[in-house]
């Protein structure tokens, strides 16, 4: 797994921030945010297997497998208080890591993190059912694989359509995993940051996480969505992380 330590970070800094990117992205998406904390923490960024500079896994990994890989990497570093800062898919891995390896995680910031079932309208469920059934029939007649058909018909989410066959399988596995039981077991301080205009991980996901994770703090940014929370909302996020770090340290 590709990892990057920010240039300006000094080994003498007493704690570490580990930045975990979202699906379809790489460490680069979080560099601007991480740079803001360069004077106060040691900053590590990663490219999860199958993203950025990291090669694609040879088998279908679960988010727990990603957490294991990350835990292996963290174990190679000298022990330091470690705070995970994750966006989207990175949040799934962060939750798995904090659940399975609580000794490695001092705190966690989940930005637009999924991990709980989405509320789907009846219309959506009917549409999904028909698409599934129709694609089975068409596949049968055309002898096509599921992913190539969905790609041709431009069906499925953008993340799904743009992924390779292997990464699609990983995505499906991740999306279908409900992390609510794991979230309930998390004992470290957690900051939850969500955008009101986020349709990929709507704010109710964050509010539900707040109920599940004891003592967690939830902040919602009214004008931001799943991606602008990292771009035009960057300084809002920076300030909340800064406050959170001051509270837990």
């Amino acid at each position: 797994m590709y990892t990057l330590k920010l240039k300006g970070s000094s080994d003498k800094l007493s704690f570490r921030l580990v930045w975990l990117h979202g699906w379809g992205q790489s460490h680069k998406a979080l560099v601007p945010l991480a740079e803001y904390f360069d004077d106060v923490a040691e900053n590590y960024l990663v490219d999860f297997p199958g993203f950025g500079f990291s090669s694609e896994p040879k088998e279908v990994l679960d988010t727990e497998d990603y957490a294991d890989i990350l835990a292996d990497f963290l174990s190679t570093l000298p022990f330091k208080d470690t705070i995970l800062v994750s966006h989207s898919f990175g949040g799934r891995v962060a939750i798995e890591l904090a659940f399975k390896y609580p000794h490695l995680v001092k705190g966690m910031v989940l930005i637009s993190s999924p991990g709980l079932p989405l509320k789907r309208s009846i219309f959506f469920k009917i549409k999904a059912f028909f698409i599934k059934k129709m694609s089975q029939v068409i596949r049968f007649f055309l002898c096509l694989k599921r992913h190539s058909l969905l790609g041709k018909l431009k069906l499925g989410s953008i993340d799904y359509r743009e992924a390779t066959p292997m990464m699609r399988k990983i995505l499906v596995k991740a999306v279908n995993k409900d992390l609510s039981v794991r979230a309930m077991q998390i004992s470290c301080p957690v900051l939850l940051l969500y955008g009101s205009k986020d349709t990929a991980t709507p704010p109710y996901i964050g509010q539900r996480f707040k109920e599940l994770i004891k003592g967690s703090k939830y902040i919602e940014f009214p004008l931001h969505d799943h991606y602008t929370i990292l771009t035009s909302g960057k300084s809002l996020v920076e300030n909340q992380i800064e406050e959170f770090l001051a509270e837990i340290r």
């Binding site: 940014f221 602008t228 035009s232 909302g233 300084s235």
Partner: protein, 400 residues
């Protein structure tokens, strides 16, 4: 604690109208929503005021005849105590909702929101507002008055000649107007009141001078002519005291394609080169005003003496004008001789010049900068209300 309600103003009848829209939309998404409740007020080119969530969507500009449902026209009401806005509606079932706000966040560029005029409106309406006060805004937006203040403070500025557009003539003889220009070529011709490097030209001949003056007179009633600085480099810095003590930002050197920094360098060179063309609207990441310009922070070629001059002159001018907000001060330099001149001051710089503060030491991010500006607005209004606390003591007519 209830969040303060902040109206973010942008647009106005200005040549920098569209840049102001970008700055306003940028600001509203960055203001700390945990502390303040924000809503947009857009002043269009015809001086109509609009509000509503639809204004936050860049693709709705310019506003057409068919308006999205979430945009409504409002009017600003003065003369009934503190100013407020109300919805403009007609008919039997009209509902003129009255809406008060705690402070005005000004994201204007150029007329009339940066020139002191809008600041005056806010002052007389009793509404706290961000940025430079009325006097400093008016002075800084007039390049000649700024120079006169600089001269009185011993800050070097270039000599200038002012040309006036004849008010009583539609057609005028430009040669007649420029015949008194006795500065040696090359010269720099600028509008007296406009910012963003609009209509700024370098001229090397009398013919070029005439055509540059005509270009300026299409936009401004006065042109300012200065010697063109050879081996020109420009350096910008921002000054503020929103964080307590007076503080200067990092110094930047913007890079440019031509011999002078033009409007196209500043606003049409950004991101992926799309710009706003043929109604095509870009995202912030693609077009974000001055952010499209490449720049160098703390440029290595500046000596410590030059840095010291830029900082001390900026602070001196800011203090002399009782500065508020965080104006950006631009300097001109002959890179061969090392001579420096104060060029101009932008009371409300594009994108609030936040990149300067983000790269300063200690760094101040965009949200913190805007929080500082809003808090300063309330502090200034508080000072005013203290000053007027004794109004009754000076009455001639007694209360009945």
């Amino acid at each position: 604690m209830a969040r303060k309600k902040i109206a973010v103003f942008f647009g106005e009848r200005s040549f920098e109208h569209d840049i102001s829209i970008l700055t306003g939309l940028q600001a509203i998404k960055v203001i700390d929503q945990t502390k303040f409740e924000t809503f947009p007020i857009y002043v269009d080119l015809e001086r109509n005021w609009w509000t509503g969530e639809g204004l936050l969507n860049q693709s709705n500009y310019p506003l057409g005849k068919k308006l999205p449902k979430d945009i409504r026209r409002v009017r600003f009401v003065v003369g009934e105590g503190k100013g407020y806005i109300e919805t403009v509606s007609k008919g039997i079932f009209r509902n003129n909702n009255r809406e008060y706000f705690d402070a005005a966040f000004l994201a204007f560029h150029g007329d009339f929101g940066e020139t002191g005029a809008f600041q005056g409106l806010m002052e007389s309406s009793g509404i706290p507002y961000t940025g430079c006060r009325m006097l400093a805004s008016t002075v800084f937006m007039n390049k000649v008055t700024t120079k006169q203040i600089c001269r009185s403070l011993g800050i070097p500025v270039l000599p200038e000649i002012i040309l006036e557009r004849p008010e009583d003539k539609v057609f005028f003889d430009v040669k007649e107007i420029t015949k008194g220009v006795d500065l040696p070529f090359p010269l720099c011709v600028k509008p007296l009141h406009l910012g963003s490097s609009i209509a700024v030209s370098k001229v090397t001949t009398k013919e070029e001078l005439d055509s540059a003056v005509i270009k300026v007179f299409a936009l401004d009633n006065q042109a300012i002519i200065e010697p063109f600085v050879e081996n020109l480099e420009e350096y910008n810095i921002s000054v503020t005291r929103v964080f307590g003590e007076i503080r200067c930002s990092v110094i930047e050197r913007p890079t440019r394609k031509n011999s002078i920094l033009a409007f196209s360098d500043k606003y049409q060179s950004g991101g992926k080169g799309k710009g706003i063309k043929g109604g095509k609207v870009c995202s912030f990441s693609e077009l974000n005003g001055l952010l499209g310009l490449s720049r160098e922070y703390n440029p290595g070629e500046l000596t410590s003496e030059q840095r010291e001059k830029i900082i001390s002159w900026s602070k001196a001018l800011f203090l002399a004008m009782d500065g508020r907000g965080e104006p950006r001060i631009d300097f001109l330099c002959n890179s061969k001789t090392g001579e420096l001149w104060l060029g101009e001051v932008n009371p409300i710089p594009g994108s609030f010049g936040y990149y300067l503060w983000e790269n300063s030491d200690p760094k101040i991010n965009f949200t913190k900068l805007l929080t500082g500006l809003i808090e300063e607005a309330f502090k200034e209004a508080g000072k005013k209300s203290l000053a007027y606390g004794t109004l009754k003591d000076n009455r001639i007519f007694e209360d009945k």
